[in-house]
């Protein structure tokens, strides 16, 4: 009898795991201060335990995600951040030394995107961001922009065919996000570090409309901006599954992982 109960339990667990929605996490960082505190094997273990199908990872100090990629190429999609360390966040757009750094890394490694970078308003037209866009164009890379609407518009003006992953959906309202998605076919959004689109696993009605109108344009993301936040990835994945369950299954699957897989499949086949 005990054996039967145990087998039943194992079956239930197995069923639950097989039904667990895979997650494509489109917003992770593995920056220099995380490398010792969350070593590569532990980082990979966290990603797998969280049920991540794949993750778009950048790091301040590009070596981080390269190490992760080397350890788990099936799991990690590297993107190149224009930051050598995190203090570059506020200065990079005016720092011409960023360009040779990007060029050197691009000549050495393969990436799916350049980003996540922080860029606002008219700064998008400064020489360093302009050159970065040229490099993205040359290497056919996504731009992962933590930007306001104005900067996104300026980036697209520089390169109308640019494919932009708009970090945090710009922390903008559902109406403005929808307007941007209607206007620009090559714009996608990650929903990292936002909780305003759901409450107690119920999706906000305004956001629901946007998700249903643009089911192919959203992805989830954790944003591990401190080393500790690597330990939040499983919690975040579980939370995402919770609110995604309130959407039609096909929409939930697209936002959870299919959009990420579709967009970045070209990198995987390289």
């Amino acid at each position: 009898m005990r054996m039967l109960i145990a087998l039943s339990f194992l079956f239930l667990v197995g069923t639950a795991n097989s039904q667990q929605l895979p997650i494509f996490d489109a917003h992770l960082h593995y920056s220099h201060d995380a490398w010792d505190l969350v070593p590569v094997p532990q980082a990979i273990e966290i990603l797998r335990k969280a049920g991540l199908k794949r993750a778009l990872i950048s790091s301040a100090g590009d070596d981080g995600q390269q190490r992760l990629y080397a350890a788990a190429p099936d799991l990690v999609i590297p993107e190149l951040r224009p930051y050598r360390n995190r203090s570059d966040v506020g200065t990079w757009a005016r720092d011409s030394s960023v360009i040779p750094y990007l060029e050197s890394r691009l000549s050495k490694y393969s990436y799916a995107a350049i980003g996540e970078f922080h860029l606002y308003g008219a700064d998008a037209d400064l020489p360093v961001p302009r050159r970065m866009v040229e490099l993205a164009k040359k290497h056919n890379l996504f731009l992962h922009a933590h930007s306001d609407v104005e900067a996104v518009e300026r980036l697209l003006a520089q390169w109308p065919q640019a494919r932009i992953l708009w970090a945090h959906a710009g922390f903008d309202s559902p109406e403005r996000v929808a307007a941007m998605l209607r206007k620009h076919r090559n714009l996608w959004c990650d929903l990292a570090f936002r909780t305003d689109f759901s409450s107690n696993n119920k999706v906000d009605s305004a956001w629901r409309s946007v998700f249903l109108e643009f089911p192919d344009r959203f992805m989830v993301g954790t944003d591990s901006y401190t080393p500790e936040r690597w330990h939040y990835i499983p919690e975040h994945a579980a939370w995402a599954r919770g609110w995604l369950a309130d959407l039609p299954r096909d929409v939930a699957e697209r936002i959870a992982w299919k959009n990420g897989e579709a967009l970045f499949s070209s990198f995987q086949s390289r």
Binding site: S87, V89, H168, F193, D223, Y225, E228, Y232
Partner: protein, 468 residues
């Protein structure tokens, strides 16, 4: 040896000329030069003309005849825009009129008595700064009862709670008591970086001063009442390792009479109900731990003329460019909520302390929360916060904003006791690692780049929150 020292001291005192006893006729800040002692009274407000009452006496000889007064801002290198007039109002008494401080900040009054210069720095607060300072009082607060605890404020319950607070037999091992970590002579904390009941825990033991005034309890806010929080360490295997049945048995066999006095009934058969009542008695006692008035309170209420200038300068930083009062708000110097202050929150190798994120889960799931059956307030009006609080990503690594009364006496600091002195805390905020804060998160915490003198001043202010 002691006698000889006393004799020398007496001789020294006896040799001081009697003229040193010269006391001007006004109570107020006292200045002294080689020949004169001066006091004054003024209530300057930024942008308003004011007058100054001055009294001076000579250490030797007749009262001085002549007085001049001026004021300037040493750091700005300018004076007032108006020239005051001085009128004698009696022997050694004057009234100066027409002064105006046209901007807030550090000013210096300069008096010339018969040509001798006497000066005193003063901090002139802006109207906005004054409003913020006034918001930190009055103190002490009016006594209040916790409606969720039917014995809150009841003397018999307070007595029972005090007895239980010092009762080791409540613990599973019979060796640990509440006061093991909340040590009375250490202001009800333990001076350790991390608490240690039966084992070391991940967090610093918070002091219990004014604990009855909080909205949430514990560094993570995992409880929404003081009585529920009082149950937690009893059952935690690392702290007191007890159980409801063990505690209930203790009350029934060794404290039944005290219980009956406090609760007006014999100990019930329900272990859990009895456990909750133990929590409520402990809470009734802890609610009485209210700190006394501080030098800051006297200054805030206008009762003090000798509040140290360094503390005043620090206060100005606290309510001004430091933005400290945004979170350390109100009479208790806390907004009662939680913040990510850029402190690392790894709790050990490969382990993090999720802080408020976990606290919200705990309080929502707790059988002892204010939404549950043990809340003695049938209206549940006190459960609004518990009903509406919801996890957000930023809660990961947030910890409670502690009150600051008696803060100078409760080192070490932060949720994990990682900073050993007030100076280290101030330096942490002055030089905060902004890279640890999300760019679209809290905008309050930014590098202050305080000078060493400003750090001293802020520490002096925090020290002035120590009860007298």
């Amino acid at each position: 040896m002691e006698k000889r020292r006393s004799a020398v001291l007496f001789l020294s005192v006896a040799l001081i000329p009697a003229a040193q006893a010269c006391t001007p006729a006004i109570e107020g800040p006292r200045l002294e030069s080689r020949s004169y002692v001066l006091t004054y009274r003024a209530a300057p407000e930024v942008g308003k003309h004011f007058s100054v009452e001055v009294a001076a006496c000579a250490k030797n000889g007749p009262p001085p005849q002549a007085l001049k007064i001026d004021a300037h801002m040493p750091e700005h290198r300018h004076g007032m825009n108006y020239k005051p007039t001085v009128k004698a109002t009696g022997p050694g008494r004057w009234r100066a009129e027409g002064l105006m401080f046209h901007m807030p900040g550090k000013w210096e009054f300069v008096f010339f008595v018969e040509g001798e210069r006497l000066a005193r720095e003063l901090i002139v607060f802006s109207t906005e700064e004054k409003q913020k300072i006034l918001a930190h009082g009055p103190w002490p607060p009016a006594p209040r009862r916790d409606p969720s605890n039917r014995v809150s404020g009841k003397p018999e319950a307070i007595a029972l709670g005090e007895r239980l607070f010092f009762e080791p037999r409540l613990s599973g091992t019979g060796s640990v008591l509440c006061a093991t970590c909340h040590v009375p002579f250490r202001r009800f904390q333990d001076a350790r970086p991390r608490g240690f009941g039966l084992e070391e825990v991940d967090r610093n033991t918070p002091a219990l001063a004014n604990v009855g005034l909080y909205r949430w309890y514990g560094w993570d806010g995992g409880n929404d009442s003081l009585w529920a929080q009082s149950i937690r360490p009893l059952l935690d295997p690392r702290e007191m390792r007890s159980s409801p049945s063990h505690i209930a048995n203790f009350i029934r066999t060794l404290a039944a009479k005290d219980y009956e006095n406090a609760f007006g009934r014999k100990p019930p058969a329900d272990d859990e109900a009895l456990l909750v009542d133990v929590g409520k008695a402990l809470a009734a006692f802890q609610e009485t731990l209210v700190t006394k008035r501080t030098p800051f309170d006297d200054f805030r209420d206008g009762l003090s003329t000798d509040y140290p200038l360094a503390a005043q300068r620090g206060l100005r930083i606290f309510v001004g460019k430091g933005n400290c009062s945004v979170c350390h708000f109100g009479p208790q110097f806390t907004n009662g909520e939680f913040a990510d202050t850029g402190i690392a929150f790894f709790a050990g190798k490969g382990r993090v302390d999720p802080g408020r994120l976990e606290g919200i889960k705990k309080v929502k799931a707790s059988a002892y929360n204010l939404l549950g059956r043990f809340n003695d307030d049938a209206t549940r009006a006190n459960a609004v916060g518990t009903r509406h609080v919801e996890q957000q990503h930023r809660n990961f690594g947030e910890f409670r904003v502690p009150g600051l009364r008696n803060v100078a006496l409760t080192a070490p600091y932060m949720h994990n006791g990682s900073l050993s002195s007030l100076r280290e805390v101030v330096m942490h905020y002055s030089d905060i690692n902004e890279e640890r804060l999300h760019l679209d998160g809290e905008k309050i915490l930014r590098k202050l780049n305080l000078s060493p003198g400003e750090i001293d001043d802020l520490v002096a202010f925090l020290e002035s929150l120590t009860e007298q």
